[in-house]
Amino acid sequence: MTAFIRTPPATLPVTPAAPLLRVENLKCAFDVSRPFLNRVLERQPRRFLKAVDGVSFEIARGETFALVGESGCGKSTVARLIVGLYESTDGRIVFDGQDVGQIRSGAQMQALRRRFQMIFQDPYASLNPRWRVDRIIAEPIRVFRLIDDSTAIQARVAALLTLVGLSPADGHKFPHEFSGGQRQRICIARALANNPEFLVCDEPTSALDVSVQAQILNLMKDLQDELGLTYLFISHDLAVVRHMANRIGVMYLGRIVEIAASRSLFEDPRHPYTRMLLATIPDISMTGTREETVRGEVPNPITPPPGCTFHPRCPLANERCKREAPALAEVSPGQFAACHAIGEGRAHGGAIQR
């Protein structure tokens, strides 16, 4: 009997690499124009901020895919687009073979929403201060009508609190009675309340103390193993990303400049921007050597530089980089980078000595 259940049904297309989430050429532009009257009087055109400008990636079931980049590079916008908090301007989001943009009926959308959840950055803002913790955690259960009986809901909330390392008695308290790390545990419990398969984590530890960060990250890893979760992990902290991610996408000004498996990205970064980021990680074995600092600043995303948006800061930039935007190309098996210098052989490959 058990063996029968474990055999996958023959009708399902069982492709080993079928991704849980596929994002294709995702774009999102925010209208940052002045008010209509000002535009007319001051003869200004409409202006758009391209927060996300053609991002594509896939996330396989059970893996952790991380997006890293400096603040303002659009990584959080990607997260919000995927969970539906923002409308995309262009591109497709395909969740488990279903194009999210094609869904018209509310019931279908709700069925899809039940399968993903989000963990937010600021645990002080992500819990309603007027609600008790058990009501907060039970909200997804009630919204998706997973359990009807209120004592059963209470039991489920207690189980969730225990799962994230809190006590069931904590359910009667208000969020302000908890520390930042405990609040983030409550957020995780809420995110798990509707048994999601996929969690979007938008910098879940950047508001926490370093010691508490490790606790939360380990909790998230344990939960991933236990519940078979898939994570999209947004962070600017490379150490955190190295600890969590299987694969990493490096974002710069709304585009992905390099995608690689975590190990190869840290051992053999190819894109000059990735190298610059990695060179800023302090390393105890590098005492006495001169650190290379991040040069320059992120340009204004409303008027991005032409060609490769990284060229004003890039040590390898030439005339072509100023004219032509590079596309992602496979530079070694499973590793993609968007850089003319790599294609032309101007960048010297090989691992940075760390």
């Binding site: 989000m118 992500s126 919204v143 006590s167 904590d170 236990e226």
Partner: protein, 319 residues
């Protein structure tokens, strides 16, 4: 995970009783530490209680003609009437009506109109403010421009305008019956703007907080988000405005009644009593206007002081 709580906050402590929690409350502490506020609360409660129990405690029903004796007209306060020998604490008016009883019944009308007008203004203003702040775009612009236009007129002018329209439309036979509701609507409509503006600005701040986004991610409909998530978090400032607004509404009602457009003379409010009384001011019958005026002053001042205290107590920057 081993399933054992590892970072649980202390859970063995018993929840204190309701009384202990009130006594331990910050708000209660700041209340009891301010003698002026306690005095204001006592005055407010006494007037509320007196108005509520008017039929029980007033010596006569001042608006039942059968209880009035014209011979007792213009009796000064605390002095026995020349003909009947009856003593009236606060004197009587031209018809021999006991001023104390008239004040008790008058505060009833004033408070009823005040509370109802504040409730109407608050419900209208909160609803429009929530929608305006949450939806944004042209809906927001429309509601806020209407509010701006209305704010450029004095409240009394708007209330007078609404009353004028009412007098023009409604046949005179039913005017007295519905006048009090029109008064409530007129005061409410002239006062919703500040609720809408306050709630809108708080909503703008709250809607971008992540707890609202967490609700949106799981597909909670916008009206439910507004009612369950945002509304409880924007009620603090509304409470303060409503308290001060109550004093203003009572004064506005008295002003309108004083001008003769408020409640009909068959149901006089404090404002009507003052209007009637001022006719006798220069003929020496000062008590007819003074005591209703003092009651109005005490009520408005006490409620205002309570509102001021509440504003300071709820403002974390002044703690």
């Amino acid at each position: 995970m081993n399933g054992k709580p590892i970072v649980s906050a202390s859970s063995g402590i018993k929840t204190p009783s309701l009384f202990a929690r009130i006594a331990d409350n910050d708000l209660f502490y700041s209340f009891i530490r301010s003698p002026l506020t306690v005095a204001a609360a006592v005055v407010t409660l006494v007037i509320f209680a007196a108005a509520l129990c008017a039929p029980l405690i007033s010596p006569q029903n001042p608006f039942d003609p059968a209880t009035l004796n014209l011979m007792e007209g213009f009796t000064p306060p605390m002095a026995p009437n020349a003909f009947t020998g009856n003593v009236f604490w606060l004197g009587t008016d031209a018809q021999g009506r006991d001023i104390f009883s008239a004040i008790l019944y008058g505060s009833r009308v004033s408070l009823l109109v005040g509370f109802a007008a504040v409730g109407f203004a608050a419900v209208l203003g909160i609803t429009l403010g929530l929608v305006s702040g949450y939806v944004g775009g042209w809906v927001d612009s429309l509601i806020m421009r209407i509010a701006d236009v209305q704010l450029s007129f004095p409240a009394i002018l708007i209330a007078l305008l609404i009353f004028g329209v009412f007098k023009g439309i409604v046949p005179p036979s039913v005017q007295d019956k519905v006048a009090i509701y029109v008064l409530i609507a007129a005061i409410g409509l002239s006062d919703w703007v500040q609720y809408a503006r306050t709630v809108r600005s708080s909503t703008l701040a709250e809607k971008n907080k992540e707890y609202v986004q967490a609700a949106r991610v799981i597909g909670v409909p916008a009206p439910v988000i507004l009612l369950r998530h945002i509304l409880p978090n924007v009620m603090g400032p509304v409470l303060v405005i409503a308290t001060i607004g109550l004093a203003l509404a009572i004064i506005l009602e008295s002003t309108l009644s004083f001008l003769g457009v408020g409640v009909p003379p068959t149901q006089p409010s404090l404002g009507t009593l003052i209007r009637v009384g001022q006719d006798f001011l220069f003929s020496g019958e000062w008590w007819i206007v003074l005591f209703p005026g003092l009651t109005l002053l005490a009520l408005a001042l006490a409620v205002n002081l309570l509102g001021d205290w509440l504003r300071d107590a709820l403002n974390p920057k002044l703690r």
